[in-house]
């Protein structure tokens, strides 16, 4: 089982990988297909704006919602979009923690997919409020009405969960993007591009210390991402499960919504991967194997979903409850039954072709299955609302939902808006994490060089290394030794440290595994800080809920106790994640001393390649000079050794 096999082009170098991603962005003009798609996206966006404007003028009566089916398209679209949004951050984080090499090519655009889809999803509940301009009432803020949000309402949980998720996803995406912005800064042909990317990169210089911090924080955030993703879609599931309707009050809904979300999100990820691969000519880095692996995940999702459907049907029958059974009968024989059969075909039946290895190897087949399953998942969300609300306990309330033009217009409009956002993103920012590709290539090289054994050997011969960690740069301008490959840089770092040089650092295009050990950088203590920040935020929000619901604004709801810890915990959890995230980011910026656009090392010649394909050892020791360093690094073949001109 080799990791990177079939994921990178055979003769790839660090520079060519960066070029493959950055050049379509910086140097190539877009063709007609792009502008056609752009026009379609813009048109859709216009349609969305018009629909929203008309909604604000007329109210939700322009939709097909009625007194039976009060949720209609808006909530279905919300669940559909948040489902797509749910997968991106999850894919990126889970694959990072599971050390899956195929993550490198897909994580960036999956994260962006999350941001855009999540943001669009958030619009729908607001529009559905009826008085969207009062959406801020969902937030706890001091107000002259002396009102508090109702913490026991699933709508408030939604608000908290989506806000947390969007903020978190933004941070996670931004943190991964930061080094790539520096690469674009150093590679941009024009001054405007250099300036824009340069400011956004906050002065990232690929320092080994920064990479060390970055790596630690990024991993920690990935660990937070998994429970967060689960919680967000569980909250969406709770929107339904918390009501008393037959077919909704299911304890399996929270986990089942999570699975459904990942399923549809993976489907959208496949579609976007195929589009980007074709549109930006990324065949070298988004390969057939990526599609084959995602196809397996989709198949697994289809199976779990199918079993969930079975469980629902079976439990409805097993309960012996007339209404529960009536609900299942209505699924198969009611007003919407034909759509239900299409749903089952798209979500469960069609993906079964992916058992065949031939189908998995065909990108066309995988994309076709993904498109169908996205249709199926949209139907699923629509039907979960229609089927239940159209067929509730009271026969007098049975009624059918008929979508209006504005229902369709808003759905189509948001799809166009998503397309437009994505097209803009693909022209402005790298759709693939370049530093992750570099890391993947390095892993392959290291595996080829059997570096593992050497590492161990080195660890043995290291003389009293632990106590003598490389110290931060002093006042002296650093001497830079430039290398072509990271393994040599690690050797050089070992030698420099063993020779007792101080003020050691390195500048590299990605986090070189083993470099932090070679420089004896201390493990960043970001996790205790994040834990403290998270606990503090969680405690604050719990106290807030308790104070408002028990003391300041007691309101008995369905006979439930005022102190409903069961539901306060949901909000407390979200707050904890958010607190930990922001603590981590603040800690990172302070510890790394960023933003800092004027660092002396930027005066060095060719330092721009440190974000692309060169590896620099920096020595800021007053006792060191070029000649001594050259003697020390003899045999390692540095490309150049120069002192940075002050």
């Amino acid at each position: 089982m080799s990791g990177s096999e079939g994921l990178l082009p055979p003769g790839a170098g660090y520079g060519t990988l960066v070029g493959a991603v950055a050049d379509p962005l910086l140097r190539r003009r877009v063709g007609r297909p792009y502008w056609l798609a752009f026009a379609a996206g813009a048109l859709g966006t216009a349609l969305m704006l018009v629909s929203m404007g008309w909604l604000f003028v007329e109210g939700i009566g322009i939709w097909g919602v009625n007194t039976s089916v009060v949720w209609g398209f808006a909530i279905a679209n919300y669940v559909w979009w948040i489902g797509i949004g749910n997968a991106g951050t999850f894919i990126s984080a889970a694959l990072l923690l599971l050390r899956q090499p195929w993550r490198a090519a897909i994580n960036r655009f999956a994260e962006v997919m999350t941001l855009f889809a999540g943001a669009i999803a958030g619009l729908f509940p607001i529009m559905h409020l009826g008085r969207p301009y009062r959406a801020y009432w969902l937030l706890p803020y001091p107000n002259s009405m002396e009102l508090w949000p109702q913490w026991r309402s699933a709508l408030v949980w939604d608000c908290a969960a989506i806000a947390t998720y969007l903020l978190f996803s933004l941070v996670f995406w931004w943190l991964g993007l930061l080094p790539d912005l520096a690469t674009l800064r150093d590679r941009a042909p024009g001054r405007a591009g250099r300036l824009a990317y340069g400011v956004l990169a906050l002065g990232w210089r690929g320092s080994a210390r920064h990479w060390h911090l970055h790596d630690r924080l990024y991993r920690t955030l990935a660990m937070l991402a998994l429970p967060l993703v689960v919680s967000v879609h569980s909250v969406v599931g709770m929107d339904f499960a918390a009501s008393l309707m037959p077919g909704w009050e299911e304890s399996i809904f929270p986990p089942y919504f999570v699975v459904g979300a990942l399923f549809s999100g993976f489907g959208m990820c496949v579609v976007l991967a195929a589009l980007l691969r074709w549109g930006l000519g990324l065949q070298a880095v988004i390969t057939q194997r990526h599609f084959a692996v995602m196809a397996k995940v989709i198949l697994a999702g289809a199976l779990v979903l199918g079993l969930s459907y079975l469980t629902e049907w079976f439990t409805a029958w097993y309960s012996g409850d007339a209404d529960e059974r009536g609900h299942v009968r209505f699924l198969f024989g009611g007003e919407y039954a034909p759509l239900y059969y299409v749903l089952l075909a798209c979500n469960v039946l069609v993906p079964q072709v992916l058992w065949s290895a031939r189908a998995r190897r065909s990108i066309g087949a995988v994309v076709a299955v993904s498109l169908l399953l996205n249709l199926g998942m949209w139907l699923e969300r629509v039907l979960i609302i229609w089927n239940v609300l159209s067929h509730g306990y009271l026969p007098s309330m049975h009624g059918v939902f008929r979508p209006t033009f504005w229902d369709w217009a808003l759905l189509a409009g948001t799809i166009g808006f998503f397309l437009l956002l994505f097209l803009v993103f693909a022209r402005l920012l790298p759709v693939i994490a370049m530093h992750d590709l570099g890391k993947l290539l390095f892993d392959r090289q290291r595996a080829e060089a059997h570096a593992g054994e050497e590492d161990e050997a080195r660890a043995g011969e290291r003389p009293g290394g632990a106590g003598r960690g490389a110290r931060p740069m002093g006042g002296a301008p650093p001497i830079l030794a430039e290398f072509r490959d990271p393994l040599t840089l690690i050797d050089a770092a070992h030698r420099a440290r063993e020779a007792g040089l101080r003020g050691l650092d390195a500048h590299t295009p990605f986090a070189v595994a083993g470099l932090a050990e070679a420089l004896a950088l201390p493990t960043p203590r970001v996790r205790p800080a994040m834990l403290a920040g998270g606990l503090l935020a969680a405690a604050f929000v719990y106290a807030l809920c308790w104070y408002s619901a028990v003391l300041d604004y007691p309101l008995v709801l369905g006979g439930r106790p005022l102190h409903g810890w069961q539901v306060f915990l949901v909000l407390t959890f979200e707050a904890g994640i958010l607190g930990a995230t922001f603590t981590g980011v603040a800690w990172f910026l302070v510890a790394a001393g960023l933003p800092r656009l004027n660092h002396p090392v930027f005066d060095a010649r060719d330092i721009g390649r440190a974000s692309q394909d060169r590896f620099f050892l920096a020595v800021a020791d007053p006792a060191a000079d070029e000649a001594r360093l050259a003697a020390l690094l003899d045999g390692l073949g540095p490309l150049s050794i120069r002192r940075v001109a002050p």
Partner: protein
């Protein structure tokens, strides 16, 4: 802090003295005979109890013991099947600990008999079909014949699956693992409903099956941690898996409670209310402390994650908490006397099962499963696949000899 003594052997002094590198379970293997005797004695005590007093509590105790050890074995099978699909270092390092448990499933078959023959002592619907949620449910599903058929059928497939997961290699193993997991999810949902939920036929929870599945994996991982298969970085993998499984089990448990609490419908609320009385709440509280809070907090420390000894301690705590959780589900229908019975049940089933699964018969099965290339493997690749299993057998049998010398 009640904890099942039967889980102690792995954490005992023998295991602590085990030199790193020896295969897990060697210490256990050496004591298989004594475990069998202990188990038989405990089983006899339970049998006697059932004869002289109402059979409900001892039967419930047996059910807890059975569910406990079946969870360990089924979790091992599921983990092996997951590994067949995903690959990864963790599977290789856990395999020596999981393999005997997965292969021990057939050894549980005779232990199922008291349950299958004693349905009337446990389940109201077995006495009076009128207590089932609906007449057709009693006729088609919730009846003694159906219960026995489902359990035995599932067991047959599970035994086969465990065997295949160890015997097959490569692509055939992946396909069998995928199909097996699909079956597993369905079968666990039904069997968990039959065994545990149908004690109160009017309570349903659609997530109960998934929760049982995750808890089984948690139990198997905790069992593996007790046996200390992993050293160095591999211990970190085990720690991460344990953390994820504990979190998953906690999540699924909380979600079921939250939905029932929020809905506040009579049948669902009643089930929880019956389990809320001071004593039962304390039991579940102990379970939460041992199987959720303690591991989650302890595993935040990097030192704990790297130390096989600390992980073994956590494994014991998680298993104890899991036992308490099973008691919390089963016991309130029968009263407090189920707790000692459940302790006896864990000892009885565990002792007999360990005696069989880790005894000579289990060892023979393990050697057969590991030694030859699977029937599913293509003839052409015979030479290639035969090598790896041979190494493993050497390690296992070598360790076995060591373990025997130890004891």
């Amino acid at each position: 802090m009640s904890r099942p003594p039967a889980t102690r052997p792995g954490a005992g002094p023998g295991a602590a003295a085990r030199p790193d590198g020896a295969p897990p379970g060697a210490w256990l293997r050496a004591r298989a005979g004594r475990a069998l005797l202990l188990g038989l004695a405990a089983a006899a005590a339970l049998g006697l109890w059932a004869l002289v007093a109402p059979a409900g509590p001892p039967a419930a105790g047996w059910l807890v013991g059975l569910a406990f050890w079946a969870s360990v074995a089924l979790g091992a099978v599921a983990l092996l099947a997951v590994h067949a699909l995903t690959g990864g270092r963790w599977g290789e390092s856990l395999r020596p600990a999981l393999a005997p448990a997965a292969l021990g499933l057939p050894a549980l078959l005779p232990l199922l008999l008291p349950l299958l023959l004693g349905l009337t002592a446990l389940y109201p619907w077995a006495v009076d079909p009128g207590t089932a949620p609906a007449p057709d449910v009693a006729r088609l599903y919730l009846n003694p014949a159906g219960f026995r058929l489902r359990t035995l059928l599932a067991w047959g497939v599970w035994c086969l699956l465990g065997w295949l997961m160890l015997r097959l290699r490569g692509g055939a193993r992946a396909v069998a693992g995928a199909l097996g997991l699909v079956f597993h999810l369905g079968a666990v949902t039904l069997v968990a409903l039959d065994w545990l939920l149908s004690i109160d036929p009017h309570f349903q929870s659609t997530a109960f099956g998934v929760a049982a599945l995750v808890m089984q994996m948690m139990a198997a991982l905790a069992w593996a941690a007790l046996l200390r298969p992993a050293v160095g970085r591999e211990a970190g993998d085990l720690a991460a898996l344990l953390f994820a499984a504990v979190l998953g089990a906690l999540y699924l448990g909380f979600v079921q409670y939250l939905v029932a609490w929020y809905g506040d419908l009579p049948d669902k609320a009643r089930w929880f209310l019956r389990r809320e009385g001071a004593g039962w709440l304390a039991l579940q509280g102990a379970s939460f402390l041992l199987a959720a809070l303690l591991p989650l907090v302890a595993l935040l420390r990097p030192g704990t994650r790297r130390s096989p000894a600390a992980l073994a301690g956590l494994g014991a705590a998680i298993l104890a908490g899991f036992w308490a959780h099973l008691c919390w589900i089963v016991a309130p229908a029968f009263g407090a006397s189920v707790l000692p019975a459940a302790l006896l049940g864990v000892l009885a089933v565990g002792g007999i099962w360990l005696g069989l699964a880790y005894g000579p018969a289990g060892g023979w099965l393990l050697r057969r499963a590991e030694s030859a290339p699977g029937e599913g493997a293509e003839g052409a690749s015979d030479g290639r696949v035969a090598r790896a299993p041979d190494d493993r057998v050497e390690r296992l049998s070598g360790g076995r000899a060591e373990g025997l010398a130890d004891g």
